[in-house]
């Protein structure tokens, strides 16, 4: 969906909160979003504490979140928000977009990541992608997703079949070799948005898995009893 289409849509503006301790980046992101009528910038804060305060006043639709913050790690906030009935879409702001920082955030509940030095248009595009059920997926993260989801313990799952569908595996393999979503869509005979939503679905599976794993571990350790919750 193009920016023009989005702009012409009659949806109410999406509330956005920026949490970024580095002032220039914070200002730049705020500057990118402010003129967009589709977005309503609630606040741009520098610490987790300020973020929590802002979140209590108004729950945004999208949260742009830096991970390394002065008073804690962004993943903690993602975990807190995950328990909400309608959590905001979370984009992690990452310098490198590397597997070790991004994957942990996705596992915790983030919907995607945004490279810190992305061009302005890319920032908008990333948020749009997220709002429309898509997610970014780098080759490295595709490989890690494939490995983690394929090695799921069968006992921990209600289904005995693989967590990944054949189509998802095909998609991950193509992404891993560096193909863009457009190229993947062409190769698999899908639409661009479908490919992007596959990525989102894969993140969701990883989150479900990590949650069930966490529950499993908690039960194992006697921290939690199994029953209706």
């Amino acid at each position: 969906m193009s920016v023009a289409e989005l702009e012409s849509s009659t949806l109410a503006p999406v509330a956005v909160l920026i949490v970024e301790d580095e002032p220039r980046t914070r200002a730049r992101l705020a500057g990118v979003l402010a003129p967009q009528s589709r977005f309503q910038l609630i606040d741009a804060v520098a610490t987790l504490a300020d973020a929590r305060t802002a979140l209590q006043q108004q729950m945004p639709g999208v949260l742009l979140l830096d991970l390394g913050l002065p008073d804690g790690h962004g993943v903690d906030l993602i975990r807190e928000l995950r328990g909400l009935p309608q959590p905001p879409e979370i984009l992690v702001i990452s310098v490198m977009g590397d597997e070790s920082s991004v994957l942990a955030a996705i596992e915790a509940g983030a919907g995607g990541y945004l490279l810190k030095d992305s061009a302005d248009a890319e920032v908008i595009a990333a948020i749009d992608q997220l709002l429309h059920g898509g997610a970014p997926l780098s080759p490295s993260i595709a490989v890690h997703l494939m490995r983690r989801l394929q090695s799921l313990p069968a006992a921990g799952q209600a289904r005995s079949t693989s967590v990944l569908s054949a189509r998802e595996i095909d998609l991950l393999k193509l992404i891993a070799k560096g193909l863009s979503y457009e190229e993947v869509a062409a190769a698999l005979g899908l639409r661009y948005n479908t490919v992007a939503s596959y990525a989102k679905e894969l993140y969701r599976k990883l989150q479900v898995h990590s949650r069930s794993e966490a529950v499993f571990e908690a039960v194992q350790m006697g921290l939690m009893s199994v029953g209706p919750r």
């Binding site: 490198m96 590397d98 597997e99 070790s100 490279l115 030095d117 992305s118 061009a119 890319e122 780098s138 080759p139 490295s140 993260i141 595709a142 490989v143 890690h144 490995r147 193509l174 992404i175 891993a176 070799k177 560096g178 193909l179 863009s180 190229e183």
Partner: protein, 616 residues
């Protein structure tokens, strides 16, 4: 104590009993004999050999007279007794006759005191005649006890009387009652059978490994035990022929089993047909012996039967004397002596029978001896088996213990080595990363510092340096990513990173890297060098060539990865980078065992990297 411990303890006790139970054997044997003799224990009035009387029916009414004390009279062989009526005080005495299988009329001093017709269905040991002898009927010195017996016409014209006791009334009454009760409820039969089974069959059943021959031993023992029990309880279960056949079959089977055991120990065991022939002969002879009546043919059959038994026992004795089986060697001579002794007994029996021509009253030494020898061999085998089992268990436990110790040592050694290896790998990797950071990011930062400090600082150069530093950092991080150990993914990652950066350049980039298969994993250092070379080649093409199109392609031929960066820009190699960048690319390629070649196409340059990969 756990169940397993109890089981082990029980097994140990059984082993001990089994290995030192030689004394149990004569004891059990004696106990069986004792049970078999229980009916005739009314000392001192017992008549031991009152077993049977071959008797041709007389022409005048088929009655046979038996006199006590006994003499030879007419056609009947009468019985010897140990009664000496003269020595007895017979006032208040009674007479108990057991096992009368014919009609009987009893006369004392010429007067008939009792007529006992044979009841329908009675047989061999059925009749039990109880008489109270009144005062004065049997006087010392002048008495004659006459039994008039009438045999049934038929194939078996002899009279049997299995026991006769004269004694005080109270003892004989008790005895009579006891007999009747036993005959009624069969309790004693059950007792004897259970005893026999427990004594002989149970050890056979529990012994391991189970040889087929044990079954035959067991069958033989059960036959013998049943036979012995019929002595005790005066059973009415079957015809005498069956009983007689039973004991002979038992003997034949046990003898055959012994021959089998012995022949198994030979290097060249006898042929199967030989065994079959022996069994057939033995069983046939036992049938002939039982079915035939008195007469020359039957006598020959019986004689042959005894001869075969004797020959077999002698043969076995020779076998054991030679001690061909090592496991039983220490005992072999004892076995041989035992067998020889039994053969002697059998010979003695046979001679006695021949000399007296007394086929029905032959001795039992040979039979008992064979039975006894059977048990002897069986117990010896059992002991050996138990010892062997214990020995193997002990050595197995020892082996398991040794193995556990050894595997623990190996495990410790392995974990020590693994820890050391991991520590070394970690140290190497740390060193490598430090070196890379020093050479890459460090060098860039130093250059940047110099640029900033120069007067006046040039913003474009600073941005260029910063971009390079950031690129270098990205390459390092990617090279450390586990997923990028597969160079096809690393190339994908490189493409994904570059594509967003390259949008600012007015050049078309054509990627042909996605068709690579999954590649064998390589270490991070190799990944980093490949990516650096690519980065360098790409930035050279971007910076110096003013190209309109750059093609980046990769190929895999199963052993080598080829990556090529080709542009259509102006100028050749000389115009680019002053040679310094090319030299560093070459040395990087060299450090990972790759080949780097440049193609000066004028216009344009191709940079080709060839990296051999050992497949995993």
């Amino acid at each position: 104590m756990s169940r397993r411990a109890v089981g082990a303890r029980l097994r140990a006790v059984l082993d001990t009993l089994g290995s030192q139970a030689w004394w149990l054997l004569p004891l059990s044997f004696a106990a069986l004999l004792f049970l078999g003799q229980r009916t005739s224990d009314i000392e001192p009035f017992r008549i031991n050999e009152l077993i049977g009387m071959p008797c041709v029916p007389t022409e005048d009414g088929d009655w046979t007279t038996v006199k006590l004390p006994l003499v030879r009279d007419g056609d009947c062989w009468l019985l010897r007794t140990s009664i000496d009526a003269d020595a007895l005080e017979l006032r208040g005495a009674g007479l108990l006759m057991m096992g009368l299988d014919q009609d009987a009329a009893v006369f004392i001093n010429g007067a008939q005191v009792r007529n006992m017709p044979l009841l329908e269905g009675q047989s061999y040991y059925a009749g039990s005649l109880w008489l109270a002898i009144g005062s004065g009927m049997l006087q010392p010195g002048s008495n004659e006890l006459l039994l008039e017996l009438r045999s049934e016409p038929g194939p078996r014209p002899w009279v049997a009387l299995s026991g006769l006791a004269v004694g005080p009334l109270e003892i004989l009454e008790q005895r009579q009652m006891w007999h009747q009760r036993l005959q009624r409820d069969g309790a004693r039969l059950a007792l004897v059978l259970i005893f026999a089974v427990v004594l002989f069959v149970l050890p056979i059943a529990i012994s391991r490994p189970r040889e087929p021959i044990y079954r035959w031993f067991a069958v033989s023992l059960v036959c013998a035990a049943v036979y012995v029990s019929h002595f005790a309880a005066e059973l009415r279960l079957a015809s005498p022929a069956v009983w007689a056949w039973l004991i002979h079959a038992a003997l034949a089977i046990s003898l055959w089993s012994m021959a089998q055991v012995s022949s198994q120990m030979l290097k060249r065991p006898p042929a199967r047909w030989w065994n079959a022939a022996v069994v057939a002969a033995l069983l046939g002879l036992t049938l002939a012996k039982v079915a035939g009546g008195p007469g020359p043919v039957a006598a020959m059959g019986v004689g042959l039967y005894r001869v075969i038994l004797l020959v077999m026992t002698l043969h076995l004795s020779w076998f054991w004397w030679q001690g061909r089986h090592l496991a039983l060697k220490p005992d072999g001579r004892w076995f041989a002596v035992a067998v020889l002794f039994q053969a002697g007994l059998g010979l003695f029996d046979s001679l006695r029978a021949v000399l007296r021509a007394q086929w029905a009253t032959h001795g039992y030494s040979l039979h008992w001896a064979i039975l006894y020898f059977t048990l002897l061999i069986f117990v010896a085998l059992l002991v050996r088996i138990l010892q062997a089992l214990r020995e193997s268990e002990r050595s197995r436990a020892q082996l398991a213990q040794d193995l556990a110790i050894r595997s623990r040592e190996l495990e410790e050694e392995f974990s020590r080595r693994r820890t050391a290896e991991a520590a070394r790998t970690l140290a190497d990797e740390r060193q490598r990363i430090m070196r890379d950071m020093h050479d890459g990011v460090g060098g860039q930062l130093v250059a940047l510092m110099a640029q900033v400090q120069s007067a006046p600082p040039q913003a474009s150069l600073i941005v260029d340096h910063l971009r390079r530093t950031l690129d270098e950092l990205r390459l390092m991080i990617d090279s450390l990513d586990e997923a990028c150990a597969d160079l096809s993914v690393a190339l994908g990652m490189f493409r994904a990173r570059m594509e967003s950066l390259l949008t600012q350049y007015p050049v078309r980039i054509r990627w042909r890297t996605a068709q690579l298969p999954d590649l064998p994993p390589v270490p991070p250092s190799t990944v980093l060098q490949v990516l650096r070379i690519l980065q360098e080649a790409l930035s050279n093409a971007l910076k110096h060539a003013h190209a309109t199109e750059i093609a980046i392609s990769a190929d895999w031929d199963g052993a080598r990865l080829q990556v090529e960066v080709r542009d259509d820009g102006n100028g050749g190699l000389e115009e680019r980078s002053g040679g310094r960048g090319l030299a560093s690319m070459r040395s990087r390629a060299q450090s990972i065992g790759a080949q780097l070649s440049f193609e000066d196409a004028h216009p344009g340059v191709g940079v080709r990297l060839e990296l051999p990969l050992a497949s995993s």
